[in-house]
């Protein structure tokens, strides 16, 4: 075994530094590592092709695109904004913290695909967040609007990441167990998922505090009412 295949890691870092298209960089990195390890071109091509189609499940989120697209054209985002504005006491912080908790709990039950950036954040959570933020402080500037939308996206990611590992049959728990199996260590998967709970709770507390802080800073800046 040699250090030569590490060239692939160097290619990723260099591509990153020079801001090249990541897809192109990643494929070049694979080719570089393969050639450095002495793989024949035919073998390397087969490796790329097989690896790509074996991971198709990573793109399944796109099955929701036709229905989300049709609903958006019919005004789903506009309706989400108007509907949430009807709840007089709902603030940006409350909306996002409740969403964070719900996303973590539902992911912990194994339903990770139930929400996500294309299916819930873009059509529902982002417009609702904007509506609650605008109600508290008046119209949002473009920069503020972007920050509110980005916080909604971040809240979905964090809820997903730190909920899913509690679910037994989730990929991460199975991957950890499978890895230990290959190393000759038999581990009870329920113990793995139980050890994900402290971090899940910490993630909720940290991010909920940051959401509250974000909302408060906006209120202080604009000098408006409760946010």
């Amino acid at each position: 075994m040699t250090y030569a295949p590490l060239i692939g890691v160097a290619v990723v870092v260099a591509g990153f530094a020079w801001k090249r298209n990541p897809v192109l960089v990643v494929v070049l990195a694979g080719i570089a590592s393969g050639l450095a390890a002495g793989k024949a071109p035919g073998e390397l091509l087969a490796m790329l092709g097989k690896g790509f189609v074996a991971n198709r499940s990573l793109m399944l989120f796109a099955v929701t695109f036709p229905v989300i697209g049709v609903l958006e054209r019919a005004g789903l985002r506009e309706r989400a904004r108007a509907w949430i504005a009807g709840f007089a006491r709902l603030t940006l912080a409350r909306l996002l913290i409740v969403y964070l908790a719900a996303r973590q709990i539902v992911s912990a039950l194994g339903l990770t695909h139930i929400a996500g950036q294309p299916q819930t954040v873009r059509p529902l959570l982002a417009p609702m967040s904007e509506a609650t933020a605008a109600r508290a402080n008046g119209a949002l500037s473009a920069g503020e609007r972007d920050r509110v939308r980005a916080l909604a996206a971040a809240t979905d990611n964090i809820g997903l990441f730190f909920g899913e590992d509690i679910f037994l049959a989730f990929g991460a728990v199975l991957l950890i167990k499978g890895f230990y199996d290959t190393q000759g260590l038999a581990i009870d998967p329920t113990r793995i998922s139980r050890w994900a709970i402290p971090t899940a709770l910490a993630a909720f507390v940290i991010h909920a505090a940051r959401i509250a802080w974000f909302a408060r800073r906006r209120r202080d800046r604009s000098g408006g009412g409760p946010c």
């Binding site: 690896g51 049709v70 980005a150 971040a154």
Partner: protein, 326 residues
């Protein structure tokens, strides 16, 4: 029996439709990109089956397709930078407002039919059988349920909005072109992970890290493990690729072997420390770049900017937790 293959073929058809729409508008790079991706989804199972049977050429042809996808991704990104999509006309926006006012909360029904349908299918499917066979393949139930629920929701949405099925494809294409190349980055990174595994990149990294840390200091090993998980996750765009490398390199030989750590706790907290890396890397495109495009944000780093403080505090928490309990 309904399997994941059916869902893949349906999704492949959506990609082919996106290719045809782009072809008609003479956007060659985008058309080629979606056509190859559609082909990968439709023929994927045949490729894997042929590979298992010892026939290498279909996988090799797909390998060429992967390289072509990468080139087309770069080209279509450049074409789009030169020819940015036009702003929406006022009439379209006004039309959406009118439609939203007319349909009201009914608009939420098809949107909620995706999660609702998914839960119903996951709960009911184990009881469904036809001629002694389960109707839905049990091992992939959640993913197949997502596909079926999406189809049901689409039918409901088309009926509600009185749209034709062609509108569904046109709208899917609009969303796909909004995301563009970022849509395949996760698959490409998983492919790179497979290549790295076959070429033993992980072993080399683990040996390098093992050579530079003071192995008799327990806390130093834990910090090295946590930082290693984060850094490698940032490079690979996901913690699943980093976990076997760091755990085989540092976790098992040093923390479990020398310092008697509990492997279950090590695995769980180590993986979640890697997730903190996922929150800060643009390589995790489906989480950090796709929303930037979907929400039409200003900077590539907009979402990461909202995530990094949570990621840093949580990573510190995780390392302290590991030092306390391992």
């Amino acid at each position: 029996m309904l399997t994941l293959s059916h869902v893949y073929v349906a999704l492949g058809a959506v990609f082919f439709a996106a290719a045809i729409f782009n072809l008609r508008e003479r956007r060659w790079a985008a058309a080629g990109f979606w056509a190859i991706l559609g082909l990968a989804f439709v023929t994927g199972d045949a490729i894997l089956a042929a590979d298992k049977a010892g026939e290498a050429w279909p996988a090799q042809a797909m390998g060429l397709g992967v390289i072509a996808l990468a080139v087309l991704a770069a080209l279509s990104a450049r074409a789009r930078a030169r020819r940015p999509p036009a702003a929406e006309p006022e009439a379209v926006i006004a039309g959406r407002e009118r439609s939203a006012a007319r349909l009201g909360n009914w608009l939420f029904v098809p949107a909620l039919a995706i999660p609702g349908g998914m839960i119903a299918i996951v709960l009911v499917a184990p009881a469904l059988a036809w001629r002694g066979q389960p109707v839905i393949e049990p091992s992939q139930l959640a993913l197949i349920a997502l596909g079926v629920a999406a189809v049901i929701a689409l039918i409901a949405a088309l009926a509600l909005t009185r749209s034709r099925p062609m509108h569904g494809l046109a709208e899917a294409r609009r969303l796909l072109d909004t995301i563009g190349w970022a849509v395949i980055l996760p698959m490409m990174l998983a492919t790179l992970g497979a290549v790295f595994k076959d070429t033993h990149v992980g072993d080399a990294i683990a040996r390098l890290v093992g050579a530079v840390i003071p192995t008799d200091n327990r806390a130093a090993c834990i910090v090295a493990y946590g930082v290693g998980m984060i850094v490698f996750t940032i490079i690979m765009g996901n913690a699943f690729a980093a976990f076997p490398v760091m755990t085989a390199g540092i976790g098992l030989p040093l923390l479990v072997g020398v310092h008697h750590a509990d492997p279950a706790a090590l695995g769980a907290i180590g993986m979640l420390t890697g997730y903190c890396g996922t929150l800060v890397t643009p390589m995790a495109a489906n989480f950090n770049i796709v929303p930037v495009l979907l929400l039409e944000l200003d900077s590539e780093y907009s979402v990461i900017r909202q995530q990094w403080p949570t990621a840093v505090v949580l990573a510190v928490f995780n390392v302290i937790l590991m030092i306390a309990v391992l």
